[in-house]
């Protein structure tokens, strides 16, 4: 019997190199350098994240079963990832049976082409958009623009970013880095028909945005949304939001196109109970988000006449194939990890160069788009953009162990990198500390460092790369004796004898 040649296994698809927003053009330390200099942004971010942190803690503490909810959310998502192909097929069947059209997109290029073709088929040169991370990730707005189609963001913060020709810096609050005076200036400059006497009162700002968006809702025939959840059992999709503009987009236009990452599934409708408690409390610190929209296929005479669903891979299969890193796909994009991250709080989101900033972005982005697609790939710096303080793990509503994933990605980075000076240093220190004999020899050598210390025993300047330390911090000069030398000395033995005598006196 002859055996069939099944071919070489093909690696799962990654997000394409040059499309979308999963790679910046600078490494994290370089981008952070610019961000740290922006004192206004530092202040805006510090204030905003502290406020959201406080609200989240309060509403999470209110629920007696918060930890159980987190466990349930984590278990549900792990289950989805474990049987994703089966659930996706079921989901596709259900959506189709209820009158939706399902499209599969391997990557950002395919998804952009599908969506642009669907809009062009409707002879529409303008399209409404519900705030969506997936379409931001693939750079859909830019692609539509190049095809002569104007996308109009309807989420207020996203609109501020769009009008300001800016980039979002937060998953949930894209304009978190802006204050209201800056927003007024953007509106005055960019919003057609805006009141020229506009001040920076938030109510007035919202009113102007509302006027502008209402005219768009009344005239635009196609809308594009993302999805927070897709229910495999029923083919239902859901978007949660707080302004109601999303709901307008989901119900008023004739054609609705939803772009959804393939990991956004939940098995059944009742599972939403868990996530609709976890998500708003984790993200905005609200007990419930003001608007939850759900739609299933199309219904004659009610809502859009046509519904298209684009299921997006764009690196998700590659992430799923990693036994450790796949945990990142449990993310429900709440942004709680950003709001507690001390690194994010100082640098803001743009330093991460990706649609997904903060701790979750530092694990998700390199997995979706790779870390070694180019020489000195900026994504390779992301797993190191953390002090591993662990605050992100504590607040994650689906218990993603982000610090451990960062450590795993650092390991993968080192394994795939060429041999560097750092690697030589690590190898040498590993060798020096692999036995006590070598270690004590190295300790004696390090004592030479005493000469670097001033009269006060402080070292204030070291050669590279250690000057990164002494740029802002002193280092104590090594002491005259190491601990083990003291322990083996008469002083050490006497100190222990004295302590033992004290112990005996205490007992007697």
């Amino acid at each position: 019997m002859s055996s069939a040649f099944l071919g070489f296994p093909t690696p799962p698809p990654r997000a394409p190199y040059a499309t979308g927003h999963l790679r910046g053009d600078q490494s994290f330390p370089e981008a952070a350098h610019t961000a740290l200099d922006d004192t206004q942004q530092r202040r805006n971010l510090g204030k905003a994240t502290a406020t959201i942190r406080g609200k989240r803690d309060q509403v999470a503490d209110e629920l007696p079963d918060w930890e159980e909810l987190r466990s349930a959310g984590s278990a549900l998502k792990a289950d989805v990832l474990a049987r994703l192909p089966e659930l996706l097929e079921r989901f596709e069947r259900e959506v189709t049976e209820r009158g939706g059209v399902v499209h599969w997109a391997r990557d950002a290029d395919e998804a952009n082409e599908i969506v642009t073709r669907l809009v062009a088929d409707k002879d529409s040169d303008e399209v409404l958009k519900v705030k969506s991370m997936a379409t931001q990730e693939i750079g859909l707005n830019e692609h539509l623009g190049s095809a002569g189609i104007s996308p109009v963001e309807t989420d207020l913060a996203e609109l501020i970013v769009q009008l300001g020709a800016d980039r979002p810096s937060h998953i949930l609050v894209p304009a978190i880095h802006r204050n209201r005076a800056e927003i007024r200036d953007i509106f005055l400059r960019e919003m057609p028909g805006v009141d020229p006497n506009l001040d920076d009162d938030p109510v007035r700002l919202a009113e102007e945005a509302r006027k502008y968006l209402r005219s768009k809702f009344m005239s635009t025939r196609v809308a594009i949304s993302g999805a927070n959840f897709g229910v495999a059992d029923t083919g239902t999709l859901s978007v949660v939001e707080s302004e109601g503009n999303g709901r307008m987009c989901l119900t008023m236009p004739e054609t609705l196109i939803t772009v959804m990452g393939i990991e956004k599934l939940v098995p059944s409708f009742t599972d939403l109970e868990v996530f609709l408690q976890l998500l708003p409390r984790s993200s905005t610190g609200e007990r419930m988000n003001p608007y939850t929209s759900m739609w299933t296929g199309v219904t004659e005479g009610d809502g859009p006449e046509e519904f298209h669903l684009v299921l997006l891979d764009n690196g998700r299969s590659a992430t799923l194939a990693d036994g450790v890193g796949r945990e990142a796909l449990q993310c429900i994009r709440c942004s709680a990890c950003l709001n507690v991250c001390p690194v994010y709080e100082r640098t803001g989101g743009k330093a991460y160069g990706s649609t997904y900033p903060g701790p979750i972005g530092a694990v998700l982005t390199p997995q979706l788009a790779g870390m070694h697609e180019s020489r000195d790939d900026p994504n390779a710096s992301l797993p190191y953009a953390s002090s591993l303080c662990g605050a992100c793990y504590d607040v994650c509503p689906v218990k993603i162990d982000i610090p451990s994933l960062l450590v795993e990605l650092r390991h993968q980075h080192v394994e795939q990198s060429r041999y560097t000076a750092e690697a030589a240093m690590m190898r040498a220190s590993s060798l020096a500390m692999s036995s006590a004999k070598r270690f004590t020899k190295a300790q004696r050598a390090s004592r030479l460092g005493r000469v670097l210390g001033g009269a006060d025993g402080r070292i204030s300047a070291l050669p590279p790369p250690l000057n990164a330390w002494t740029s802002a911090r002193d280092l104590p000069a090594p002491p005259k004796r190491t601990f083990r030398e003291w322990w083996d000395s008469e002083d050490g033995r006497e100190a222990v004898r004295a302590a033992r005598r004290e112990a005996e006196r205490g007992e007697s």
């Binding site: 690194v343 797993p383 953009a385 690590m426 500390m433 802002a472 911090r473 002491p479 083990r484």
Partner: protein, 255 residues
């Protein structure tokens, strides 16, 4: 109990006072303290920077000394090293080791304690008879807090110290920005975090900022010293080992 001291590479080499204090304190509390001389480093720096293969010899070396059955417990004056031993040694052993290494890692990890954990959970003491007549604020350190979940154990120990003026640190649970090689790779972000931590420390008016990790204290202390703030750092073990005769040795004062 026969308690083995794990000095940690940083403690042994740069901060011996914290280790001396741990040795004296545990002895004073009636423990038989031993120092297995073959010990070196837990390998945390290598794992956290991505060099797991280079951590392997260090994991082997750690278990060679501390998995020994004659040792009842291992105590280290460092939350982050204990965190690494408990949570990261398994990862390295699983990836590169054999079955016997995995068993030794499990045995050694299960009996390794951070100082405050050992005092409160194992020995059941919070009053260790210390006296430290200074104004002190306490930084809980990320790994003690979130990897080991030591909770308020260090504070319960400090509250029993005679004549101490313990003042609360604002935003205490926030990272000081050290993070091992993070302080070098992302030096500017690390410094920004350190600045906020130093501001929090100095607003308390404390003479000393204390913590259970020499590494975090090296960072905070290095910053406070550079700015000539006049605020010092002291390891938790040194406070707990201070009695009527101040423990800090003449040698250290003259260094």
């Amino acid at each position: 109990m026969r308690v083995a001291l794990f000095a940690t590479c940083l403690g042994d080499t740069l901060f011996p006072e914290a280790v001396k204090a741990t040795a004296v304190l545990l002895t004073r509390l009636g423990q038989e303290v031993v120092f297995p001389p073959g010990q070196t480093c837990c390998g945390q720096m290598h794992v956290n920077t991505g060099y797991q293969a280079d951590a392997l010899p260090l994991v082997r070396n750690y278990t060679a000394d501390f998995a020994d059955e004659s040792i009842d417990a291992v105590v280290a004056p460092s939350g982050s090293c204990v965190g690494s031993i408990r949570h990261q040694h398994e990862i390295v052993a699983e990836r590169y080791g054999d079955r016997s290494l995995r068993e030794r890692v499990e045995r050694a990890g299960a009996k390794t304690y951070e100082l405050s954990e050992f005092l409160v959970d194992v020995l059941g003491v919070t009053d260790v008879g210390a006296r430290f007549p200074h104004r002190v604020t306490y930084h809980p350190t990320c790994h003690s807090l979130r990897m080991l979940r030591v909770g308020d154990k260090p504070l319960r120990l400090l509250e029993q110290v005679r004549e101490i003026d313990l003042v609360e640190l604002p935003r205490a649970e926030e990272c000081c920005g050290f993070g091992g090689t993070f302080a070098l790779k992302n030096s500017e972000t690390s410094t920004a975090m350190l600045s906020d931590k130093m501001r929090a420390v100095t607003t308390t008016g404390a003479e000393f900022c204390s913590a259970g990790d020499s590494s975090c204290l090296m960072h905070i202390g290095g910053g406070l010293s550079r700015l000539r703030t006049g605020t010092g750092t002291v390891h938790l073990a040194e406070i707990l080992a201070s009695t009527e005769q101040r423990f800090r040795s003449e040698e250290e004062v003259s260094a």
